[in-house]
Assembly symmetry: C2
Homo-oligomer: 197 residues x 2
């Protein structure tokens, strides 16, 4: 044990963060100790605050500091559009793009027979409730373009058929993407969905 | 701002850690919120504790939770050997190897005319005091094999000449190293220091 118990304990906990291993956790802890006033104390306070206040929005599953998240509380976002995403990271990614003005529904994962994840585990019943409850006219299925994401999207589409307009994100060449580096699936999807110039 | 103020604040602070950027900080914060009881609260507590107790050992410059670090307090380590390292990360690396049984002296950097880092800034006067004060018989200069590290090592060697035995870490092929991947400098150092089998 190179350092003291308290410091070793902090290193061990930091090493559990995604993206950090034992070596980078040690580097991070040394950095924190050197910048105690500027970083360590504010970070500890921020963690205490989030630990005390963070919870799941009861309506959409977003991370919130109150029972209903800011987006669900914002009446300007009740425009009849509902974007279904797999998890909160996807919601944040959509928000960063600043183009979607409706509300979200966070599933919290994808359907998986192997891991025994059924519709009940995924907040799907709540989604079905929200359609009439919030006068939703369009559901945008923004699930990941993986097999699990697409299976889940199909299941939800089956459940909602005839009730609302159902759309999904366009598939194609990403902005700035080079054909040479794209996989075959993306290229064929982009070709099938080609548009007149 | 995709999330709440408290959560955004935590993400911003996490992104200041070495090895984490904005994207990995967001991932880490989501992970922390999901593992609140297991990780977020213990981590916040550990940070508070380190922020309250961590300081520099007045004797050697190691990170400690008391004025004098565990190693300097341990009389079994007063064996006359003193290992001079650039910073605490190097001390921890030496300790992990579990082979050095003496004490350390952490310089806190290297001499640099450009950055106006002179001997006073590097705890070198304290090092010179420790030689007679702790009956040091051998000083091991375990500075990094960089130009700055070696310049600093030369300066210290000049100061201590004739007072103690001066040694430095052996240079050569690292254990498990493949010649093909080693730089020219390492190979020539290893060749010059070759040993009879």
């Amino acid at each position: 044990m190179p350092a003291n118990r308290e410091i070793e304990n902090l290193i061990e906990l930091m090493a559990k963060l995604p993206g950090l291993g034992p070596r980078s956790a040690r580097r991070a802890v040394l950095h924190l100790i050197r910048k105690r006033a500027l970083l360590l104390t504010p970070l500890a306070d921020a963690m205490q605050e989030v630990a005390a206040t963070a919870r799941e929005c009861l309506n959409c599953g977003n991370v919130a500091t109150s029972d209903i998240c800011d987006i669900c509380q914002d009446n300007r976002r009740a425009n009849g559009e509902l974007c279904v995403v797999e998890d909160v990271a996807d919601l944040w990614a959509m928000e960063r793009a600043r183009v979607f003005k409706g509300r979200y529904h966070v599933l919290g994962g994808t359907l998986s027979a192997l891991d025994a994840v059924g519709p009940e585990e995924l907040r799907i019943p709540k989604l079905l409730d929200r359609i009439p409850g919030e006068h939703i006219t369009e559901v945008i299925l923004a699930l990941n373009a993986t097999v699990e994401g697409q299976t889940t999207a199909h299941y939800i589409a089956d459940q909602l058929e005839g009730q609302v307009k159902l759309t999904s994100l366009a598939q194609g060449v990403p902005i700035g993407g080079e054909l040479d580096y794209l996989d075959d699936g993306t290229i064929s999807a982009a070709l099938r969905a080609r548009k007149e110039v």
